[in-house]
Amino acid sequence: MPVDFDPALIGKVFEQTEPVKVTAEKIAGFCAALGEDNPLFTDEGAARKGPYGGIVAPPSFAVTFRNGRHFFSHVPRFGRIGMDAGKDVEFVAPIRPGDEITLSSNVKEIYEKTGRSGSMVFVIVRSTLKNQNDEVVAHVDHRFMHRVSK
């Protein structure tokens, strides 16, 4: 049975966050928590000689930018409360200390799959991260899975 939802939902930007300032301290804290020891992300001296001319954030830092508090009120739910099923991230440009990142989100896709455990509805929310120069730094596709109630 096809999933029932308003097609106007697809592609419509429902959220634009305020800019979030990236500091060297935030990057360092993130690296410490992740156990990151790559000098491109942790050592200013070594990073200066590297491809980016200075420290940049590890790529996965891109997924730490939070959607606003009303994010889920715009995302349709199907059946039981969903879970984070995975992510697809496209890294377009590095995130640097001093950057101010904004995030805008839209529902990219909704589809149903049937597995051994029953029917599941997947909602893909795409968040686009831009810096203070209006350059896209990353696209993050959040894949939420909802088990359909019987």
Binding site: K26, G29, F30, A32, A33, L34, G35, E36, D37, N38, L40, G50, P51, P58, P59, S60, V63, T64, R66, M83, D84, A85, G86, K87, D88, V89, E90, F91, R143
Partner: protein
Amino acid sequence: MLETTAKSFEEIKIGDTLGPEEIHVSRERCRAYAHQAHLDAARFTDDEGARKEGLPGMILPGNMSLGLITKLVTDWIASANARLTRIGTTYRLPVQPDHTFVLQGFITNSNPEDRTVEVDLWMENEDAERLVIGTATVQFGS
């Protein structure tokens, strides 16, 4: 950092491996990541809160698993003239802290036209269960 790292696009062959890299994730480290990533849900910080949500206990944020798998790739690239352009993850099973995980990957394809390689990735527990799987694309400079 990994002992074996990518040198250049020309030297990479399909079937080349990334890792295995063993990593122990403590509860403290899981909480530290959740704090840094502004993930304040109880399931990432305490067992009781996690059990109230029907989980077996505290779990790692999916983003943390993504971060660990991403690190395997960026460690492999190391100082090579290359960059990670894409990664995709699927969270198959809850990942609980206070366990030792193995991160691994291998090259599944290489495309000389755009100098990219495709990588399959996974994170498994002590019982060799694949908790998180993923794919990545790495682009090499000329």
